[in-house]
Symmetry: D2
Subunit: 277 residues, 4 copies
């Protein structure tokens, strides 16, 4: 039997769960999984439900809209493998990890294409019979280059865009084309280091922990809603290059955890935060 993912993002009101479950029950649908969360300050209500059965999508959505507050965001998809496009630059640690998971059957997604702004990663990607597009930014204005990238991405109409160490700053224009669809990974530290070569700074500061943060991309590149974070311990024996290597290892683990959450549609955005159900 087919399974569907129903996501509701709305204002809390008395009887929401009752009303939604009533509609599902009346449509003869099974609830396979269900989680709700009410954010206590804003009284926002989030609900993720896996349902199974025969659905008439338009009809069901109509009935749900009738019993939910007007401004509700409701999405309803069949629970299928999602299509993703990966953007990368030169480093292969995150991309390579995704490719191995992909051929291993552990990545619950179709990698439609990898787009790079250099040729470096073509060889690796093509080994796995995945199309690689190099869109060089050389001698080009940022906006012009980005337009080309956006156009290439749109050909694949992906559910998600994964920045696997894509080292170009994206403009707000880019994000507007793919709202809540772009996942990024970046290093992070206690305390934070801003500017060139954060690993050198972290080394100079003598940190004992190095982290990575996976987040949605919003207009502010490294400041979007955080999806997953993890850390690894380092000590005084680590050169800054060792720290960077340790950082890369945690980056690939963090990105892959975050991507799994997105592929299962478990992540809601609430302000600049995420709610993970």
């Amino acid at each position: 039997m087919k399974e569907y993912i129903l996501l509701i993002d709305t204002s809390d009101a008395k009887g929401l769960v009752y009303n939604v479950s009533k509609v599902l029950f009346a449509n003869n649908l099974n609830i396979e999984q269900n989680s709700e969360y009410v954010e206590p300050d804003s009284k926002k209500f989030f609900m993720r439900t896996i349902i199974s059965g025969e659905i008439h999508k338009d009809l069901l959505l109509k009935e749900l809209r009738e019993i939910l507050p007007k401004e509700s965001q409701i999405t309803l998809h069949e629970r299928l493998k999602k299509d993703i496009v990966i953007l990368a630059t030169k480093e292969s640690h995150v991309l390579g990890d995704l490719l191995i998971r992909y051929i291993d059957g552990e990545l619950n997604a179709n990698i439609k294409a990898v787009i790079g702004n250099h040729e470096y990663l073509r060889d690796l990607v093509e080994k796995f019979n995945i199309p690689f597009y190099c869109i060089s930014a050389e001698d080009m204005e940022r906006e012009t280059h980005e337009e080309l990238v956006i156009k290439q991405i749109k050909e694949f109409n992906p559910d998600l865009i994964v920045l696997a160490k894509y080292m170009r700053i994206l403009t707000p224009g880019f994000v507007k084309h793919f709202p809540k669809k772009v996942l990024n990974i970046h290093h992070s530290f206690l305390p934070a280091f801003i500017g060139a070569n954060p690993y050198k700074q972290a080394h100079h500061r003598g940190v004992k922990i190095i982290g990575a943060t996976a987040h949605y991309v919003t207009d502010d590149l490294d400041e979007g809603p955080i999806i997953f974070q993890d850390i690894v311990r380092v000590d005084h024996n680590y050169t800054w290059q060792d720290m960077r290597r340790a950082g890369r290892n945690v980056e690939k683990v963090v990105l892959s955890n975050a991507l799994e959450l997105l592929l299962e549609e478990k992540v809601f955005v609430h302000g600049n935060k995420t709610v993970i159900l």
Copy 2:
């Protein structure tokens, strides 16, 4: 407004969420938090709901029983601080941590009493103005001693009994008096070591990780449903005493995390496992 915790443990059936939320809605109650889980193999359904409003407890329970499968376990309590009794022997690391949390206002429970089978911990406990009962097991049969302990515990009618390094083996008879009410903490390792002085064994084996496991006590002392686990890294520099010290640190953290889950009534037992909502 008063808050209540409603717990339902039953077999899955179509419309369960609908029916429960219908009853709550009809009774003019707010759902503050709600989590459900259906265990896919056994099709068991677990639901934890925080509701607020004016309730007529008996009436509400009656209505819920009418719409739920016959064998359902339903509990409904006001959300209040729980009463606990602590059992301990000689070591103070877990007990002391609970006492500091208690006076700090971070333990969401009333410690009604501490019962020891030695006098060692009386001083510490009485510093905090908590009654301490020493029930020595000397020159006594296991069952006779246990009867005395059971009797003492029952005087306080606690919601939970916390074994904070209580070094006596409990009989099945004990557990029968307090089903799903006894929390224990014990060390654990990769791989596991059985028998006397597991830290010496772990040291001899050269483990790189030491853990602790908090679990419900069932008839089989260290084998009840696991509630929380954590680990700490060790290396070849650790003597077995160092390992024991590291183990104690993780024991107190693990016990306190598990206890917090129990005090919030987030833990369901399913076979020999826990479901934490």
Copy 3:
């Protein structure tokens, strides 16, 4: 047989280990533990050696000075329990943890006194038969108050001063009296939050990890050399108060780990970093 801790902090030079071990050998001393580290960029040499045997301290120091570069910092102590003084304000989670370790015999130090700037913690401290001094800062200039605190500390001539959530900013003058002797604990986050109520900020930002950093106090309160760091996971269910509670738990673990390193004299300061041998 008595044990001694020898610490050498100098510039690297050919034959350093050879020359030091030659002196120790000639003095008929056993090396029980030995670690060295050469920082590759600065070519600084750090050595920590536990020696046993009969030593003539002045003579041995003299011989070591002869074979080591002029600017070398050499310290040589008998390996004994250290004396500490604790400063605290209102919160008891870190202080309480130290007190429980202390009576448990797990803290390898003598707590000579606790100094508070409020009366809040007197009860707790005196339960453990440790002198508590309240030095209120009310109606007093910062420097005047600090002078009183310094005077009180000096009466105990401690090896280490532990700031167990002491919520007063220390002046450079304070640190000058106790160089490399003051240990502090503070919360830390990915990313960092500066200003009032960092937990509210962290909550608003939706972090998934909360950390704590133990460091030496230098002129810049929260920026001294880092000794130990750790983290704990949080999620969207955490209110900012829950995050603060989680933060407190990790603070006490981190401080106690850092203190253990200091009590064993394993921590060298190198610029604004630590080398831990």
Copy 4:
């Protein structure tokens, strides 16, 4: 200037460090890194030193043997990339991770060949231009098959053999050919589960943590000296297949950490334990 790794494994004696450093000094060699450890129970002495300069290997070894106890194990190599051979069966998560690190320049080793007992992994391996040898065990006695594998490995004379989920039990005869040269990775749990499908057992037991252990292979396949361990948290939402996926992720991280330690020759074997310097 060339660098060398000197490893000494012997019984502790007065003046060992002095004597070794004297020889190195007399030979005009620089000590770049140096760590020693004396195991307190057995009084075994372990030393790992990185030296730089012009060495006459045979002469230096002769001089070291003269000043060290007779039964000392001394090894002295130039610090070079090591050659490794990988054995695998069907799963690609560990192997794939090694291959990506390899082409990424993050694996400090030459992968000379991959040997499988099935054809499954040929495609993946050959994508990376690494020779793949399938030695099927079908219709063959264990010893006969193993002889063929040993013969194939020996053609490459590797420094290390990495079992990257090689699902054949090795005989003591195999290990005798490659003492202290075989690295294995296996899942591990709190508590331990023995027998078929440990993930099903762990799921049934309701564990909250899943681990992996990297160890030297000795006669007893999963019981050799432990090199590295790590864990990952799981909860009741995990099916046993989810647990297996989580386990695989931690396996690849653990194996790669252990391999890095071996490639840097940081691991000494002491009884059934490791000392990591």
